[in-house]
């Protein structure tokens, strides 16, 4: 099989890979398989992964779950020798029944396709067509077959209309779609994806997963994916693997069993589950089974029918759904008055007459689509960009700090503690202050680490530490939750709430994460059509919105209006939220 595939790829015409899999040649039972696999980063260190055994059948769509640092990436990379993490491994790894290390380089490149997190860094060439062809050029495919494969892939992924574009001009979602297409064009039997949507906004992320589902169901390519947010991916998965801290496989089965297991024993993933599933857990925890449902709801649709059954079968609503929360009263410290902005004079306006007030002691959220001008408004409020018309009014002696979208752009030194000392002269703080700040944000253990070696959540906290040391009164944060897993997000949320409520700081953050906003923000504003369409208390905002709202609000609409988060549902039914562990 190996030689036939290799020569086929080089000379064409190539029979579809599915034929190979279902054909008469020795087809393995599993597309991917691990038996008693263990891995350690060095011969002396303890095993990062151990006792891992599982097999994925051809055509399955598996989600690999686990908190940050549980070794998900290391596990995934074991299937791709080119990307394998350096270290020592034991046990067997099989790709279509073969040891990946024994495959020839061309065969190894084509059997398993690998999509990584950052859409930008995976793109190698400057044009879309060249990127699509890159892999085929690398495996030396003849030009005639290559044209055909590229055309097929462009058609399947709907890339035809931007085939001639420069890769630099694509949106983040298009870039990641191109990365996927550039791999599927090589006809892999298995696709491995390591947090492919964590850098995308929710709409682009959903679009990406929709295409991935097509790749799985229409081409029959086996998929293994890791994700922070399970909201959109769990409804399409037919297999769930859970990797626990310490590197053992804690669960291997279908998604329903996964939810049942998490209801009994939370592995720090509760908050990552789909809203519908969390609602189901509320009832399961209370030992109730409304409407005789055997399985958990996973999508909003299933959630609505679950909730309707619960209400129809006499599930009592204990109290009225919570109404709007009280807003902390704080003075207006920073405001925009009739702000007009454009980048150059021959470009259209990005902001048109924006009026906006920022209050001390409040967390305000700014939501809106990509390119709606959220980041621009932040930098205008920070004074980095000068408006063309209108003005920004600041309270006297107000310190405003802006944290850009990529917090890595802030770090200069090799050790975190040195990096935090970097601005001690301009900020007028001492090593003592730095140590206090590290302790406060739970970063003491990482003081000697290189800032680039921190995880997503740690990076965000470190950047926050660096900014807080300058003693700002106003924090403008551009997507502080981007790419974070649920526990890290919750932690950032707690820190921000603390800063606003205890220290009276005014916080404005942009985000695509509506659930996060509904949990921590006091007010929420929507930017659309170059202007702020509405500003409202966060709870009321999501109750009044129809589409642009949290999944829970969409589930409860018309049945339990006013419920925006799972916590709201719990209050309504008089149930306790969370899992047994908490």
């Amino acid at each position: 099989m190996m030689t036939r595939l290799a020569s086929g790829a080089a000379r064409g015409p190539v029979p579809a890979r599915e034929n190979d899999v279902g054909g008469l040649r020795n087809v393995s039972e599993y597309a991917l398989e691990m038996r008693d696999y263990a891995f350690s980063y060095g011969s002396t260190s303890t095993d990062a992964l151990h006792d891992i055994s599982f097999g994925l059948r051809h055509g399955s769509f598996a989600v690999l779950c686990g908190t940050s640092g549980s070794g998900k990436s290391t596990l995934l990379r074991a299937f791709k020798p080119e990307l394998a993490v350096a270290g020592e491994s034991r046990g067997t790894v099989r790709v279509l029944g073969d040891d990946p290390h024994l495959l020839g380089p061309v065969e190894s490149a084509t059997r398993v396709g690998f999509v990584m997190q950052d859409p930008e860094n995976q793109i190698v060439t400057d044009t879309v067509w060249h990127e699509l062809a890159f892999g085929l050029e690398s495996i030396g495919m003849d030009p005639q077959t290559m044209r055909r494969r590229v055309a097929e892939a462009a058609h399947f992924f709907g890339i035809g209309s931007w085939f001639d574009r420069r890769t630099a001009d694509l949106s983040g979602g298009q870039k990641q779609l191109l990365n996927l297409a550039a791999i599927v064009v090589m006809q892999p039997a298995v696709l491995v994806l390591d947090e492919p949507t964590s850098q995308l906004d929710p709409i682009a992320a959903k679009a990406f997963l929709d295409v991935l589902e097509r790749v799985n169901s229409e081409l029959g390519i086996t998929v293994v994916i890791t994700e922070h947010r399970l909201e959109d991916v769990l409804p399409i998965a037919d297999r769930v693997l859970l990797l626990e801290r310490g590197g053992t496989l804690a669960y291997d089965g279908d998604r329903d069993g996964f939810a049942h297991m998490l209801a009994k024993h939370d592995s720090g993933l509760y908050a990552a589950l789909p809203a519908a599933t969390r609602m189901g857990m509320l009832f399961e925890r209370a030992g109730r089974d409304p409407g005789g449902h055997v399985t958990y709801p996973f999508s909003v649709r299933e959630g609505r029918s679950y909730l309707a059954d619960a209400l129809a079968h006499g599930e009592r609503v204990a109290g009225p759904p919570p109404t709007e929360r009280a807003l902390p009263s704080g003075d207006v410290v920073l405001s925009a008055r009739d702000l007009w902005f454009r980048y150059t004079r021959d470009m259209p306006f990005v902001l048109r007459g924006v009026d906006f007030n920022l209050h001390a002691g409040r967390i305000s959220a700014l939501v809106g689509g990509n390119g709606s001008g959220k980041s621009t408004l932040l930098s205008a409020l920070a004074g980095v960009r000068k408006p063309e018309r209108g003005r920004v009014v600041r309270a006297r002696n107000l310190h405003v700090a802006l944290m850009a979208q990529n917090p890595k752009t802030l770090f200069v030194r090799d050790r975190l503690v040195d990096d935090l000392m970097e601005w001690s002269d301009v900020g007028g703080y001492s090593l003592h202050d730095v140590n206090n700040m590290l302790e406060r944000l739970g970063l003491e253990q990482l003081r000697a680490r290189h800032p680039y070696d921190l995880s997503g959540g740690e990076t965000q906290k470190a950047a926050l530490a660096k900014i807080l040391l300058l003693g700002p009164d106003v924090l403008l944060l551009d997507e502080p939750t981007k790419g974070l897993d649920a526990p890290a997000k919750a932690q950032i949320g707690r820190i921000l709430s603390d800063l606003a409520l205890r220290e009276g700081k005014a916080i404005l953050l942009t985000t695509h994460d509506l659930e996060f906003v509904s949990e921590i923000a006091h007010t929420c504003s929507m930017l659309f059509g170059h202007d702020i369409t509405c500003t409202q208390d966060a709870h009321g905002f999501f109750v009044d919105n129809l589409f642009y709202s949290t999944p829970t609000a969409r589930i409860a609409r018309g049945m339990l209006d006013g419920c925006v988060t799972t916590a709201d549902l719990a209050v309504s039914f008089g149930l306790a939220e969370g899992t047994h562990d908490e």
Partner: protein
């Protein structure tokens, strides 16, 4: 995208045309040939980009022609017909003519280059010269992706740092320090990026075997025909043009211009972008 059918021809054909137009353009100052080259290059540029950009290009060419013409006539006193003499300077009609012809030649070449830029886009160039050297063409492609990315990165690093501490230290030393800091951050981030790019490349089989190249352009019958005609015209021109140019002199007296078949073949060769349009099925004149 350049309009006109010529730009749709195989890059090799387009390249040969421009090589011929620019090569021959450079090799003679015979006034008729220079005039033809100017007119044809100008017409092609108008055809490709419209009047406005053409006038802008001409606007930069005219001073050049005048400058070269004047400079030559000031410093070259080999002509017989003196019009003005002052100290060491001696201006003569022949020198002036020679200067104008030279300026015209430069202007024509500049116009041809403007057309070249419009027709021979970067991907065509890399395709033409990179196919034999796939690694080189990949490198060119990677660099032209990398450079604008670094510029954007630099801007975002600058903005995010400036947003925090830009207001604190406006002295020259502070600015310098921030500049150095920015370079450090950029280098670090660039390294991070390139590790991931390298992963993405090896995951897709980079270096696993001899590279091939994606074929973006193909040879059709029309390419062969036009290529053949171009070569024939170029050969004819090589003989006729050099004969005419050899018979023509500016000094000591400007020779008279003799009629020649060379003008026709030269015009025909430079007119390739126009006569290939005859192939259009509908309204070839529109």
């Amino acid at each position: 995208m350049a309009k006109g059918l010529f730009a749709t021809y195989h890059p090799a054909v387009c390249m040969l045309f421009f090589l011929a137009a620019i090569g021959f353009g450079f090799s003679t100052q015979h006034p008729v040939y220079v005039a033809l080259s100017c007119v044809m290059s100008g017409a092609f540029l108008v055809y490709l980009r419209g009047w406005r950009p053409f006038l802008r290009t001409v606007g930069t060419c005219v001073p050049l022609v005048v400058f070269v013409g004047l400079l030559n006539s000031l410093f070259n006193a080999a002509g017989a017909t003196v019009i003005w003499r002052w100290g060491p300077f001696c201006v003569c009609v022949e020198g002036l003519c020679y200067g104008v012809a030279m300026g015209g030649m430069l202007a024509a070449v500049l116009l041809w280059f403007a057309c070249y830029n419009e027709v021979m886009t970067e991907d065509k160039f890399t395709y033409l010269f990179g196919r034999r050297l796939p690694t080189v063409s990949l490198m060119v492609s990677m660099i032209s992706r990398w450079v604008p990315r670094m510029v954007i990165r630099g801007r975002s690093v600058h903005n995010s740092q400036e947003a925090l501490i830009g207001g604190y230290d406006q002295s020259r030393r502070g600015t310098l320090r921030r500049g150095v800091r920015m370079a450090t951050v950029l280098a670090g981030l660039g390294m991070e990026d390139s590790i991931q790019t390298a992963d993405s490349m090896s995951a897709r089989g980079y270096g696993s075997t001899t590279r091939t190249s994606y074929v973006l352009f193909r040879w059709h019958v029309r390419e062969h025909v036009v290529l053949g005609l171009l070569v024939a015209l170029a050969v004819a021109n090589a003989m006729l043009l050099f004969a005419d140019a050899g018979a023509f002199a500016f000094y000591p007296l400007v020779s008279s211009v003799e009629p020649s078949w060379g003008y026709a073949t030269y015009a025909l060769m430079l007119g390739t972008p126009f006569w290939v349009e005859l192939e259009r099925v509908r309204r070839p004149w529109a």
